[in-house]
């Protein structure tokens, strides 16, 4: 056999990994996500928002919340205005009614006093 063949056979021969090699690789792989989990909540949330779909969902939720708050405030203002208008209307009609009756009363008094023609 040629010495070159022997060298190649020796170089390409399967070698068993050293003891604990697989464990060390697995530990290193497990350690990388562990770094994120061990980080702050802000980093976790920030990483979530890096995803574009979630960002739009959050924006939509904020807009909906603002619309709901605005609608509630508008309804409360409408109610307050409506109640005030109702009370003003009652007062106005009461005044109009009393003055109309005053005129009627005065006419009746004059009718009573003046002789029949």
């Amino acid at each position: 056999m040629r010495p070159l063949d022997d060298e190649l056979r020796s170089a390409l021969k399967r070698k068993e990994p050293p003891a604990g090699f697989a464990g060390r690789v697995m530990a290193r792989l497990a350690g990388q996500p562990g770094r994120v989990r061990q980080g702050s909540w802000a980093q976790a949330i920030r990483s979530l928002f890096r995803m574009p779909k979630l960002r739009w969902v959050a924006v939509g939720a904020v807009v909906c919340l603002l619309l709901v708050v605005g609608a509630v405030r508008y309804q409360r203002r409408e109610r307050a205005q409506g109640e005030m208008a109702k009370e003003q209307l009652k007062q106005a009609l009461h005044i109009a009614s009393s003055k109309l009756n005053l005129a009627k009363k005065r006419v009746q008094e004059v009718d009573r006093r003046s002789p029949e023609s």
Binding site: E78, R79, Q81, G82, E83, A85, K86, Q88, L89, K90, Q91, A92, L93, H94, I95, A96, S97, S98, K99, L100, N101, L102, A103, K104, K105, R106, V107, E109, V110, D111, R113, S114
Partner: protein
């Protein structure tokens, strides 16, 4: 040329006839009461109500939520109204306003469409009460109502736009949780022929 001029003249005459023959249509029953604002400074109490069509609708909507019969009466009364305007001033002493203050209001009530239905003047009691109405077309329905009540320490001007039922309005006093004012002043009968009361 002659024919077209004649036709134009006839058309113009027809239009004037149509527009002139509809006196109350389009007349605005809304009185301008801004001139009375100056009395607010002298008045001890002021009632200023300005409810246009939209505010009346809103008030009417909230009247529906009241479950009493009076609210239903009021709602029925105002359902076709286009505005309710009231200016009422109560003074601590007499002489705080003059007839001149009412000139601008009376001038508007002399305009086309308005008719004075009642005018009661009592020089003894220094009171003057006038009721005006604006009728639509042949007078079948009321388009507007104005009441001027001038008393020694109180001045009230009421302006209601739209068809108002006077009987129902008159019947409202004493309802809505407000007692009747009691228009009888004293129990002693007046001497016949005394005073200077005139009625029209």
């Amino acid at each position: 040329m002659r024919i077209s001029l004649r036709r134009t003249t006839m058309l113009m005459g027809f239009l004037i006839l149509v527009w002139g023959g509809v006196p109350a249509y389009g007349q605005d029953a809304h009185l301008q009461l801004n001139n009375l604002e100056k009395l607010s400074k002298k008045a001890a109490e002021v009632v200023d109500v300005q409810l246009d069509g939209s505010m009346l609708k809103m008030a009417s909507k909230f009247l529906s939520e009241d479950e009493d019969a009076d609210a239903a009466e009021v709602k029925e009364l105002v359902k076709d109204l286009k505005g309710v305007y009231v200016k009422s001033f109560e003074f601590d002493k007499e002489g705080e306003y003059s007839e001149d203050d009412l000139d601008s209001v009376r001038a508007q009530l002399k305009g086309p469409g308005w008719s004075r239905m009642v005018s009661v003047v009592s020089k003894r009691e220094h009171e003057n009460t006038e009721v005006y109405m604006m009728a639509m077309g042949s007078g079948a329905s009321i388009q507007g109502l104005a009441i001027i009540a001038a008393e020694p320490k109180e001045l009230t001007v009421v302006n209601i736009l739209g068809p108002i039922d006077l009987d129902k309005l008159s019947a409202l006093e004493g309802h809505m949780g407000v007692p009747k004012l009691g228009l009888d002043k004293g129990g002693t009968p007046r001497k016949p022929g005394g005073g200077q009361n005139e009625k029209k």
